[in-house]
């Protein structure tokens, strides 16, 4: 039956029957709802107990690789989704999610409480912003001090001779952190200027590795890996995690953030098109945007809540950096150009 309805939708025969809000008002209450998420969507406690208590609906989580793999699978199964709600499409993937019609629109009453920038990225409310953060250059405070080097203040500083052979970045072709950094240089130097910047970075000895883990824990000197390089592309919220959970607990974070290098990331959640329970899925989106749930995000997913009135742990206030004006690129430009940018980057920097 579902198939027939879907085919009808695709053919545009019954345009009204396909939207989430035109279903019969008496949508049955499901026993459970499923959230499709990326692998690292995991919590120390069970965060959905309150939702289950209030609605009687259990929440199940299925994971499906990293955010990119998750979205590709969702695009392949658009209209016949693996769950009811999807968590974790960020602004670099957003445009692809919208054009492959993964979501069905839902306007959450919580929207007014969420970051206005995030909400503005999805005018028809296909998806709801749920968390945010920044990809920024981090530095090893002690290493720079020991070598009498000033903290770099801007992206331009990184091409100066005193920072030769000190920076490690992730490959934008294989790492979302690496892609975010490439995008921050596009935002900063423009569509025609970023190429020269990377040529300069290359002659200044930038090292490119496969992913964040290798960059941060093997090559960067400021974390437990004690690698050789004091500058790394990581997150604005990385420094607090050099304090939290470290025994013995250091007084202050051993690493800092170059604020002018930050690229802004916003993650979205949305109702998956084709769910049998669009109404219930909507209430789950409301829960994901609720104060209670949003306050769990910093220590579980290492991001800032999208909700402006949510509190963050004191270590975030002390050691993390949340730039007032981070760099960004419009999602549609990202989708249109990321392949050619990555190809050009590969030719310029690693070939």
């Amino acid at each position: 039956m579902n198939r027939i309805l879907l085919t009808a939708c695709l053919l545009g025969l019954t345009a009204n029957a396909c939207g989430s809000d035109t279903r019969p008002a008496a949508e049955a209450t499901p026993k459970s709802l499923t959230i499709v998420a990326y692998d690292s969507f995991a919590f120390k406690s069970s965060p959905f107990d309150a939702f289950t208590k209030a609605t009687g609906i259990e929440v199940k989580i299925v994971t499906a690789g990293d955010a990119g793999a998750m979205l590709s699978k969702a695009a392949l199964t658009a209209g016949n989704p693996e769950g009811d709600v999807m968590w974790g499409v960020d602004n670099t993937l957003l445009s692809r999610a919208l054009s492959s019609k993964v979501f069905s629109p839902y306007t959450s009453p919580e929207l007014t409480k969420l970051s206005a920038d995030g909400v503005a990225l999805v005018p028809n409310h296909d998806a709801t912003p749920v968390d945010e953060g920044d990809v920024c250059v981090n530095y090893d405070i002690k290493w720079l001090a020991d070598h009498n080097l000033a903290v770099p203040k801007a992206l331009d500083d990184l091409t100066k001779p005193e920072y030769k052979d000190l920076l490690v970045v992730e490959n934008p072709a294989t790492s979302s952190t690496g892609l975010a950094f490439l995008l921050s240089t596009v935002a900063k130097f423009g569509q025609n200027g970023w190429q020269q910047y990377w040529k300069d970075l290359r002659s200044n000895g930038v090292k490119v590795v496969d992913g964040w883990d290798e960059a941060y824990y093997t090559t960067f000197s400021g974390s437990s890996g004690k690698g050789p390089r004091p500058l790394v592309v990581s997150y604005g919220s990385s420094p607090p995690f050099e304090v939290i959970g470290v025994e013995p607990r250091p007084e202050t974070a051993p690493t800092g953030v170059v604020e002018a290098s930050c690229f802004h990331q916003v993650e979205f959640a949305g109702v998956l098109r084709g769910t049998k329970y669009p109404k219930a899925a909507g209430t789950l989106i409301d829960f994901l945007a609720s104060l209670e749930f949003q306050q769990l995000l910093p220590l579980n997913l290492y991001v800032y809540p999208a909700r402006t009135d949510a509190a963050v742990p004191p270590e975030f206030d002390q050691f993390a950096v949340r730039p007032a004006k981070p760099l960004t690129v419009a999602p549609s430009d990202i989708e249109k150009n990321s392949k050619s940018w990555i190809n050009t980057w590969t030719d310029l920097v690693v070939r």
């Binding site: 692998d39 995991a42 994971t63 294989t174 050099e242 959970g245 470290v246 250091p250 270590e315």
Partner: protein, 544 residues
């Protein structure tokens, strides 16, 4: 060929082949076909044909695989010879140890390998080749060694008596006799190095992607599943041709031998012999233990200095759900580290059972079918040459409609592992089955044994030991399987390699160290499984 084939009743051969045929059709061919049908358009084919970068990728993939294969065979023959020919204390432990790198996930051991690599080799093709030898030596030791230990010594002895130097006897007698096993191993190593993913990403640096990396990148990072599927099919065709070529030479080198079910290992006699045995053993132990030791070392790095904090937090007893989130504390991990061990063991046992039944039956059928068995043989090898993304995405497309909506079914993961493990079960059994002297069967028949009885008494008896090896391999492969698992939708608990990868990608020294705790556990478990198989084999030797 037919002279070598066993004359089993046709119906029995068909029944033996059936599980493999159904399995491959349902969980491999159909999913891959579904993906191709859904994602591939004329545009994606055109895009592939006109992409200059892709040609470079294909060229690099091909030549690095060839060089890696030759290097692995050349180096692998040394431990294969040592372990098949010499008896010494700790031989079984060493055999187990050699096997471990092959079944550990490269994304995990790659990190340790990276930490040990001299800076000058970092991000070089040499690093890729070294790692390929390291990870694949086991294929040669197992594949060639399995035949070598049953090779009658009298031929070599005769050559020596006739004045051949040990080297000449090796070159002109032993190696030609081993040729089928060498080519069989080479085809597996070639498959694995051609489709290399973790090693290439971690050690090769961004300048040298393989086709497999390119496919993954297109499908997940750029969202171009169509192009990824086209590339995947192209990769399959290339590898299909290679495998057929390998199995043809393998068949040409086939010699029926009077295999001895018992080994003819001996202790090193002369001083020189003893020194070389000791030297090779030391080299093997050092080469394999250093990266493993690096895993253990990194599991103790939590903040300043070395502590056992990560080990305590994994095995401390508290399950994640018992602790409410205390503000400012990440004392316990969001990843259920302890649970992933039991999950992995459970999955591995199911995957082993599936692949032993399917692969075991198929191997007998292939051996009995002779020439036409090659089609089945190649079919079973196909999943090894197909990128994990393609299989993973295909499976969710193929099983997406009720009552077959199995997209998050727990059984899908062991099934995926079985796809990867079954070819090994077949590969480990076939050389022995094919080398059984047909005269033995003729003798059995003339003594009045029915074909089935002869098969039971001869083929089954000779294959007991490779079957045991295959079981251990299947178990270990499933424990370490990473690629296919990442793309299958999972509900709840992660397997060990997945949990490791997740922990390594989280901020915080403690969680990172926990990842290495699990990596150490995985390495230990793998050594344990392979070691147990070796011990069992030893026990069966003594009984026989």
């Amino acid at each position: 060929m037919t002279g070598l084939a066993n004359r089993l009743p046709r119906r029995l051969v068909a029944a033996l082949a059936a599980p493999a045929v159904v399995f491959i059709a349902m969980f491999y061919l159909w999913p891959v076909a579904s993906l191709v049908a859904k994602a591939v358009t004329l545009d994606s084919v055109r895009a592939v044909l006109h992409d200059r970068q892709l040609r470079a990728v294909l060229w690099f993939t091909t030549w690095q695989a060839l060089v890696s294969t030759v290097a692995t065979i050349a180096i692998g023959l040394i431990p294969a010879w040592l372990l098949a020919r010499y008896e010494f204390t700790g031989r079984r432990a060493l055999t187990a140890l050699v096997t471990v790198p092959f079944v550990l996930p490269t994304v995990v051991v790659g990190a340790a390998f990276l930490a040990l690599l001299p800076d000058s080799l970092d991000q070089s093709v040499t690093a890729i080749l070294l790692a390929h030898v390291f990870f694949n030596v086991a294929v040669v030791v197992r594949g060639v060694g399995g035949l070598w230990e049953q090779l009658p010594q009298d031929l070599v002895a005769a050559a020596r008596t006739l004045g051949a130097s040990p080297l000449r006897a090796m070159r002109e007698v032993t190696i030609p006799l081993l040729a089928p096993a060498i080519y069989a191993s080479a085809s597996v190593v070639y498959l694995f190095t051609f489709t290399s993913f973790g090693v290439v990403r971690l050690l090769g640096g961004p300048a040298n992607p393989t086709l497999e990396v390119e496919i993954w990148q297109r499908a997940t990072r750029l969202g171009d599943v169509g192009v990824a599927a086209v590339l995947s099919v192209a990769q399959l065709l290339i590898l299909g041709i290679a495998v057929i070529w390998f199995s043809r030479i393998q068949a040409n080198h086939l010699v029926a031998l009077g295999l001895h079910p018992l080994n003819e290992r001996r202790r090193a006699r002369s001083r020189r012999e003893r020194i070389s045995v000791l030297a090779i053993c030391t080299a093997i132990v050092v080469a394999i233990c250093m990266p493993l030791a690096a895993l253990a070392e990194r599991s103790m790095r939590t903040g300043s200095g070395h502590t056992l904090a990560a080990w305590r937090s994994v095995f401390g007893g508290a399950t994640p759900s018992q602790h409410p989130v205390a503000n400012g504390s990440v004392a316990n991990s969001p990843v259920d580290a302890l649970g992933s061990i039991t999950t992995s063991l459970r999955v591995a046992i199911v995957a082993m059972a599936i692949s032993l039944v399917i692969g075991g039956c198929a191997a007998f059928a292939i051996a009995a079918l002779g020439r036409s068995g090659r089609v089945l043989d190649t079919g079973i090898m196909l999943p090894l040459g197909t990128s994990a993304v393609t299989i993973g995405f295909g499976l969710i497309l193929a099983f997406d409609t009720p009552p077959f909506d199995w997209r998050a079914a727990p059984l899908l993961i062991p099934l995926g592992h079985a796809l990867v493990a079954t070819p090994f079960v077949v590969r480990l059994l076939l050389p022995t089955l094919r080398s059984i002297d047909p005269q033995l069967r003729a003798a059995a028949a003339s003594l009045g044994a029915s074909p089935i009885r002869a098969w039971r008494e001869i083929d089954l008896r000779f294959s007991a030991r490779p079957l045991l090896t295959a079981a251990g391999f299947a178990l270990a492969i499933s424990l370490g399987e990473f690629g296919a698992t990442t793309f299958l939708t999972r509900r709840g608990r992660a397997t060990l390699p997945i949990a490791i990868e997740q922990l390594l990608n989280r901020p915080g020294a403690l969680l990172h160290a926990q990842g290495f705790v699990l990596a150490t556990v995985l390495a230990t478990l793998t050594i344990g499984v392979i070691g147990a198989v070796e011990a069992l084999r030893g026990w069966s030797d003594r009984r026989a």
